[in-house]
C-alpha cells in the first residue's frame, strides 16, 4: 500500500512540469512513434527493409549497441571516485549517474531486440526456460551480464532514493557490497561485449587481443563525456546543484582514457601496416579506401581529429577548467568515439567478407528511424528517472511525514 502511494506520487511528479518539459517529452514520444511504425514494418516484411545483407549482417543497430554498452560501463568512472575515494563533488551526482547507466543499458537491450530477426522467440534466451548456451556463446554471457548490470543500476539508486524519500539512512551492509560489485561488473559488461567480437576467428579485424582494452578505453571516454553534457543540461532545467569541480574531475579521467585509446589505435595501425599481410585490408578500407570503396574514409579521419583535439583540450588544465572548451571537447568525444566504435568498428569486420567480397554497408532511412526511436526511448526513460530522482536528491520530494511544508511538493 505504501509502495503504491509512493508510486502514485511519482506519477504526479512526472506528469507536471514546465512547458519545455512537455515539449521535450512530446518530441521524444513522436520520434519513438515514428521508430515504432518502421519497426512494425520491419517485422512484417523482414529485415530486408534494412541495408544489412549476408555480406554485412550486423549494422547500425549493433553499432549503437556496442557504443551504448560502453557508455553504460562508464558509470563506474563516477562510482569509483564517489564511493571508493569519497570525492565529494562527484558524490552529489553519482546516483543520477547510475540511473544514466541504467538508461543506457535499456537502450542497448532495445537495440539488440530490434536487431533480432525473431524477437517473438525471446523466451529461448531465458536460462532454465529456454536453452541459453552458457558458457559457450558470448552472446549468452552478454544477456546475463547486461541484465544483471541493469538490475544493479536500478536497485542501488532506487534503494538509496527511496530511503532518502523516507529520510532513512540506507543500510550500508546491503548497498555498499552492491555498489562495489558494480565496479568490476561495469568492466565486465564491456569486456564481454568486446569478447563477443574478439572470439570470432573468421573476422581478422576483430580477432585481435587489443579489442577488450580498446573497448574499455573508448568507453571511459564516451560515457563520461555524455555525463558532462547531460548533467549540465539537467543543472540548467532543474534545481539540482553540483559544482563544476565534479565535471573537471571527470574530464581529467577522460583525458587519461583518451590517451590510452589513441595509443591503442596507434598500436593497431602499426601492427597492420608494418606487417602488411592481407589482414591489413579492413584497416586500409577505413583510412584509405579499398578497391575504390571510400565511404567511411572521411568519417574516420574526422573521428581521429576530434579525438586528438578533445584529448588536448582535456589535458591542458586551462581549457579543461573552462566550460565552453570543456563542452566542445565533450561533444567531440561523443561524436568521435561513436564513429570509431559504431560504423568504424562493426562495418570493417565484414569488409572484405570471408570470401573477399566488398559490400559497402550504409544504413537506410528505416534503420535510422528505428535507431532514433530507440535513442528517444532511452532519453525518455532517463528524463522520467530524473524527474523523480532530482527532487528526492534535493530533499524536495519526501514523505509527507517529513515534509517541511505540505504545499511545497512542487516539482520543477
Amino acid at each position: 500500500m505504501e509502495a503504491w502511494k509512493f508510486f502514485k506520487r511519482t506519477l504526479v511528479l512526472v506528469a507536471k512540469g514546465r512547458p519545455v518539459y512537455y515539449l521535450w517529452c512530446a518530441l521524444l514520444l513522436f520520434v519513438m512513434a515514428v521508430g515504432l511504425w518502421f519497426y512494425v514494418k520491419q517485422m512484417e516484411i523482414g529485415l530486408i527493409l534494412t541495408s544489412m545483407r549476408d555480406q554485412v549482417s550486423w549494422g547500425l543497430y549493433i553499432a549503437n549497441f556496442t557504443y551504448l554498452v560502453g557508455v553504460a560501463a562508464a558509470a563506474v568512472l563516477l562510482v569509483i571516485p564517489a564511493y571508493v575515494y569519497h570525492f565529494d563533488p562527484i558524490k552529489e551526482i553519482v546516483v543520477l549517474g547510475e540511473l544514466f547507466a541504467a538508461s543506457s543499458i535499456v537502450m542497448a537491450l532495445l537495440f539488440v531486440t530490434v536487431d533480432l530477426g525473431r524477437p517473438d522467440r525471446f523466451w529461448h534466451l531465458m536460462p532454465g526456460i529456454g536453452k541459453l548456451a552458457f558458457p559457450n556463446s558470448l552472446l549468452a554471457w552478454d544477456v546475463i551480464v547486461l541484465n544483471g548490470y541493469l538490475a544493479l543500476n536500478v536497485i542501488v539508486p532506487v534503494y538509496i532514493l527511496v530511503n532518502s524519500y523516507y529520510e532513512k539512512e540506507p543500510v550500508r551492509s546491503f548497498v555498499v557490497p552492491l555498489i562495489l560489485l558494480s565496479i568490476p561488473w561495469a568492466v565486465g559488461i564491456h569486456t564481454v561485449t568486446a569478447f563477443l567480437y574478439n572470439g570470432l576467428a573468421a573476422r581478422p579485424f576483430w580477432n585481435a587481443s587489443i579489442l577488450a582494452p580498446r573497448f574499455l578505453a573508448s568507453a571511459f571516454c564516451s560515457g563520461p563525456a555524455m555525463v558532462i553534457i547531460i548533467f549540465q543540461v539537467i543543472r540548467k532545467v532543474s534545481q539540482i546543484k553540483f559544482s563544476d569541480e565534479a565535471l573537471f574531475k571527470i574530464a581529467e579521467l577522460i583525458a587519461y582514457a583518451m590517451f590510452l585509446n589513441i595509443f591503442l589505435l596507434g598500436a593497431e595501425v602499426f601492427k597492420e601496416y608494418y606487417s602488411n599481410t592481407i589482414h591489413l585490408a579492413p584497416l586500409r578500407y577505413l583510412y584509405e579506401g579499398l578497391h575504390g570503396h571510400r565511404a567511411l574514409v572521411p568519417w574516420m579521419w574526422l573521428s581521429l581529429a576530434f579525438n586528438i583535439t578533445a584529448f588536448i583540450l582535456f589535458l591542458v588544465p586551462s581549457t579543461r577548467k573552462r566550460l565552453p572548451t570543456l563542452n566542445l571537447g565533450a561533444f567531440m568525444i561523443i561524436v568521435g568515439v561513436w564513429i570509431e566504435k559504431g560504423p568504424g568498428f562493426v562495418a570493417p569486420g565484414f569488409i572484405p567478407d570471408p570470401l573477399g567480397e566488398i559490400y559497402e554497408y550504409f544504413p537506410n532511412f528505416s534503420e535510422l528511424a528505428i535507431s532514433l526511436g530507440v535513442w528517444a526511448c532511452g532519453l525518455l526513460v532517463f528524463t522520467l528517472f530524473m524527474k523523480v530522482a532530482i527532487p528526492i536528491v534535493r530533499g524536495d520530494f519526501v514523505h509527507s511525514k517529513y515534509a517541511k511544508d505540505l504545499t511545497k511538493i512542487e516539482p520543477r
Partner: protein, 181 residues
C-alpha cells in the same frame, strides 16, 4: 595309352585355366545405355554386307560429320572400332568388347583416369550410393570419343548484388540485376 590321354587332358585343363586367369576380367558397372546418335546402332545394319577396307583414309561418303581429334596423328577409326564386327569395339590386343564396356577401351591409354573412374573419383555418378539404384556415367556420356575436349558453355546467371531493391510486387527476379551494389 589311356594314362597318357588322361595326363594330357589334365595338362590341357590346367593350361586353359592358366590362360583364362591371365585374360583380363571384364568388370561390370551400372552404366547407362551408350549415347548413340539417332539410328546409328546397330552398325551391322549397314556394315554387314559391306566390304571391309582397312586402308587408312579420310571418309568421303559416310560419317563425314566425324572429325577425329583424338590421337588422330597415330590413330584412325579401325584402331578402336572392330573391322570385322562393327557392333563391337576393339582392344589393342585384338579382343572385342561391346559398346557398354567402352571404358575398358579408354582405360588402355588413360590408365590413371580409368583407375579413378572405377572408384568413382573421376566422372559422374548419380542415384543412390547406398541401398538403391545408381548410375555410373560412361566415359562417352561426358566425353565425345572423337572430339573429347570439353567445349566452353554458357554459365548460369551470377547471384544478385546485395542491395537490390526489395519489391514485394515483383513476379520475377529481373529487378535484382541492376544497381551498383
Amino acid at each position: 595309352m589311356r594314362r597318357i590321354a588322361f595326363v594330357m587332358v589334365l595338362i590341357g585343363l590346367f593350361a586353359f585355366c592358366w590362360y583364362e586367369q591371365g585374360k583380363a576380367k571384364q568388370e561390370d558397372f551400372p552404366v547407362p545405355r551408350p549415347p548413340f546418335s539417332e539410328g546409328i546402332f546397330p552398325c551391322s545394319n549397314c556394315h554387314a554386307g559391306m566390304e571391309v577396307n582397312t586402308k587408312r583414309r579420310e571418309l568421303k561418303e559416310e560419317h563425314t560429320n566425324i572429325k577425329l581429334k583424338h590421337g588422330s596423328i597415330s590413330r584412325w577409326c579401325l584402331d578402336c572400332h572392330d573391322a570385322a564386327n562393327r557392333d563391337m569395339l576393339r582392344l589393342v590386343n585384338g579382343d572385342q568388347i561391346d559398346f557398354s564396356h567402352s571404358y575398358e577401351l579408354c582405360g588402355q591409354c588413360h590408365g590413371p583416369t580409368y583407375r579413378d573412374w572405377k572408384v568413382g573419383v573421376h566422372g559422374k555418378r548419380v542415384g543412390y550410393f547406398d541401398g538403391g539404384q545408381r548410375t555410373y556415367f560412361l566415359c562417352v556420356n561426358c566425353h565425345n570419343p572423337h572430339d573429347p575436349k570439353f567445349k566452353p558453355i554458357k554459365p548460369e546467371p551470377p547471384p544478385f548484388k546485395p542491395l537490390y531493391r526489395y519489391d514485394p510486387t515483383a513476379k520475377t527476379g529481373q529487378a535484382g540485376q541492376t544497381g551498383k551494389q
